[in-house]
């Protein structure tokens, strides 16, 4: 009987408003505060609060055995703190039960790990501080933005003191191996790797409410049965928390599924484990990943954010602006730049689904990927100009001081 390691990711970006070319230089903010607040509240009511309740009851009812992991992005924590403190309390209460392990990630849910080691380290540090502040915990296991992973990232994560890291169990990466074991990173032997079983995870995450799926409706019993059938070590189920209530609405029965799941697992002697417990186990083998993988889209690589020229142009421009922003050493500018680095902004510019003729995603605030791109680039232009102005002001100030000194 394998163990099961459940992990849920919780994140909301600061979405941009329709930032027009006329807004540049006007002092108007880039982010759509009203929309972000509204969306946060909606997701909290449909997902966070009900799911937290169900899980908290489950943990308390089990008296210990039922446990899982959560990771909340820093930008989400900030928004909860300012706009939905009741929801933050709900998470704190859930974590306070002792059954929840918190994982580390980049504060701003960014792609810094791909090209900027210093920024990556800084954002992870910020996230650690936030987790300490809100929950009094220190994460031991890391999950990168959208489970981005490759051989270059692993050593950086290990150096930051994490014992384990989550990644997507892609066929490309695993080859003939099963995801249901603990592995070790080829480029960082001290880092244990937990690979997501995407088939079993997607059964719940994607297929749960799909009526044309031959396994619909999926009951907790049946799914627990599938888990228990694995003759391997540990099944790693990693899901977006919004699975519960947002991706699949209440009327699909998703909360009932969640409610009955702990029992269904327990009856089959499938034990729940925390990622850090797994990270303490002996690994079966080594995984090597020269190509970056992720849990996004069918491709499970970086194409969700860097697949088209719009995305690459936007990403590069943002990255270039980084060094200038840091020169100025203005915390507000830096925080703005970091919020613009949240991966969602690039995700909205993806043309993959757009070409396939699907309606724009439920969560994208933009009419189209092109609108997303235009708003983003306009915002960057404004930020660039503000930095340029700051630099000039800084020089004047410095000259002024020198003049006084003379």
């Amino acid at each position: 009987m394998p163990d099961i390691c459940l992990y849920f990711q919780v994140h909301q970006p600061y979405r941009l408003r329709r930032y027009r070319v006329f807004d540049i230089g006007s002092g108007a903010g880039y982010f759509d505060e009203a929309a972000n607040r509204t969306i946060l509240r909606r997701v909290a009511d449909k997902c966070y609060l009900p799911a937290n309740r169900v899980l908290r009851e489950a943990v308390e009812r089990s008296g210990g055995p039922f446990r899982f992991a959560l990771s909340l992005s820093g930008v989400l924590l900030d928004q909860l703190e300012s706009d939905a403190p009741d929801v933050l309390e709900s998470f704190q209460g859930l974590v306070g039960t002792g059954g929840v392990e918190l994982l580390g990630e980049t504060f701003h849910h960014s792609l810094a790990s791909l090209h900027d080691p210093a920024e990556f380290r800084a954002q992870v540090g910020l996230h650690r501080q936030a987790v300490e502040r809100h929950f009094g915990r220190r994460p031991e296991v890391f999950r990168n933005t959208e489970l981005l992973y490759d051989d270059a990232i692993a050593p950086q994560v290990a150096r930051m003191g994490f014992r384990g890291m989550l990644l997507e169990g892609t066929d490309r990466l695993l080859g003939w191996r099963s995801p249901n074991y603990v592995y070790v990173a080829a480029s960082a032997p001290e880092l244990r790797l937990l690979s997501r079983n995407y088939r079993l995870s997607d059964d719940v995450g994607f297929r749960f409410s799909n009526r044309s799926w031959d396994a619909w409706p999926l009951t907790a019993d049946r799914w627990a049965e599938w888990i228990s059938r694995s003759a391997e070590s540990s099944v790693h189920i990693f899901l977006d928390y919004e699975t519960f209530g947002e991706h699949h609405w209440t009327d699909t029965g998703i909360f009932d599924f969640l409610r009955y799941l702990p029992d269904a697992l327990a009856r089959r002697n499938v034990a729940c484990v925390h990622p850090s417990e797994l990270a303490a186990r002996a690994p079966l083998g080594t995984l090597s990943a020269p190509v970056t993988s992720s849990w996004a889209d069918a491709e499970r690589d970086t194409s969700a954010w860097l697949g088209n020229r719009l995305q690459r142009a936007a990403h590069e421009r943002h990255a270039r602006l980084g060094s200038r922003v840091k020169e100025i050493a203005d915390p507000v500018r830096l925080e703005t730049w970091r919020r613009l680095g949240t991966s969602d902004h690039l995700y909205y510019m993806s043309t993959k689904r757009f070409s396939d003729g699907e309606v724009h995603q439920y969560f994208s605030p933009c009419d189209s990927p092109y609108d997303a791109f235009i708003a983003y680039m306009n915002a960057l232009t404004d930020l660039e100009r503000q930095c340029a102005a700051d630099t000039v002001r800084g020089r004047w100030a410095a000259e002024g001081e020198m003049a006084v000194a003379i």
Partner: protein, 416 residues
């Protein structure tokens, strides 16, 4: 299947989207093995107009028989324009007898000829395009007894932003009510017809117009505009329906952010003098070029010379300009309510009155090469896909024809 079709001039020379769309429809139908007999009112005087490029009617076209009816009827002619045309014609080389003292007399004459043609030409079904040919279609049906399809491309309400000419409105209404089946070129137009004329939705099929590959790759010399400067194009009639006044306002705002940009307005119409005045008022005189109506291959050259094509149309049941623009690799900004917006993904959408947003998008396209490249490539791919091709439109039209043939006499069901 043999279709007796009453339409505009064939081949199209100057009249804009409708004629080109009909040409595309006819090509598509012929490509599917449907025989088409196309009856057109053709202003013979037009043959004398210089710079006109006509696709030779003598060009052998299997299955297509084109019969010209000599008359100064031209599409979109309001009653006033018609009078001017008639006078010009009377004094032209073919001068002599005037056909009718007014537009409606012409329509009647056309309808009378239609009856004669219907008696001579074998056909299984009759197809008509817009109010000007509806009477002809009805007369043909009265003679041959074959089912009648009414193609609607634009309503009088659309053209005028209100009830418009009562006689045109009456004829349009009668034609739609009397038809056995209606084909609309967009869902939004279908909705209008259902609402305005209380016609049951199940009698109306929606067939978006298709587009075919461009004629050839012309090079870009002797362009009417200076090459190398970012160029924003408006192509269409300079009349209320097409929103030319919005274009000028957009131009002003774009020029504020892209000082080297230039703007080309290719078309003519009743609002042209006002638009020119406004351009001068807005200090755009040296940046806006009024190129006049574009014809034939000039059209494709203009699209290619432009970086962006803008359609600020107040009402755009068709929107073929968008497809033509994309076919030439030029990204376009289209109104949300355009018929073509129902099928196009890779065009930027905007509300026709939202001058700020239109300018925002145009500036975005001019400033950011990756955006332009992406939209140019994706738009070109989309327009070349079978979904937007002539065969797909013809296939759906054929389906509509078949429904007509096998359907019950719908006029009776409607209780006219």
């Amino acid at each position: 299947m043999r279709v007796l079709m009453f339409g505009w001039e064939f081949p199209p020379f100057q009249a804009g989207g409708l004629a080109t769309a009909t040409l595309g429809l006819v090509k598509g139908l012929l490509g599917r093995g449907i025989e088409v007999t196309l009856v057109v009112p053709f202003a013979a005087a037009a043959a004398d107009v210089p710079n006109l490029r006509l696709v030779s009617a003598a060009e052998p076209r299997p299955g297509l028989r084109s019969i010209r009816v000599d008359s100064p009827l031209a599409p979109y002619a309001g009653a006033e324009e018609y009078l001017v045309l008639s006078e010009a014609r009377a004094s032209g080389p073919h001068g002599g007898s005037l056909y009718g003292a007014n537009l409606f007399d012409e329509v009647e004459r056309y309808a009378a000829v239609a009856g004669l043609i219907a008696a001579e030409e074998p056909h299984d079904l009759i197809d008509t395009h817009d109010w000007i040919t509806f009477e002809a279609g009805r007369r043909a049906r009265a003679v041959s007894g074959k089912p009648l399809v009414a193609h609607i491309h634009a309503t009088e309400y659309d053209r005028c932003g209100g009830p418009g000419n009562p006689e045109i409105h009456r004829r349009e209404r009668l034609g739609l009510l009397e038809a056995d089946r209606i084909i609309s070129n967009s869902a939004i137009l279908k909705r209008q017809v259902v609402e305005q004329y209380a016609i049951p939705a199940e009698l109306i099929d929606v067939v978006h117009f298709g587009i075919d590959a461009p004629a050839g790759q012309d090079d870009l010399d002797d362009l009417p505009v200076a090459a190398g400067r970012p160029t924003v194009l408006f192509l269409g009639r300079v009349t209320r329906q097409k929103g030319p006044e919005y274009f000028v306002e957009v131009a002003r705002r774009v020029a504020d952010h892209v000082p080297e940009a230039q703007f080309v307005m290719a078309g003519t119409g009743d609002l042209l003098p006002r638009v020119i005045e406004r351009a001068v008022e807005l200090d755009l005189a040296d940046r806006v070029h009024f190129a006049g109506p574009a014809k034939g291959p000039e059209v494709d050259r203009l699209y290619r010379a432009a970086d962006v094509c803008v359609m600020p149309s107040v009402s755009e049941p068709l929107g073929l300009v968008a497809l033509e623009s994309l076919r030439n690799g030029t990204p376009c900004v289209i109104p949300r309510t355009a018929g073509v917006a129902e099928v196009l993904r890779h065009a930027l959408r905007v509300d026709f009155w939202d001058v700020e947003e239109m300018a925002n998008k145009v500036v975005g396209l001019l400033h950011h090469a990756p955006l332009w490249q992406e939209l140019s490539e994706a738009g070109l791919r989309e327009v070349r896909s079978p979904r937007l091709g002539l065969d797909e439109a013809a296939r759906k039209t054929e389906e509509a024809y078949r429904k007509t043939l096998t359907g019950v006499a719908l006029s009776e069901a409607k209780g006219a």
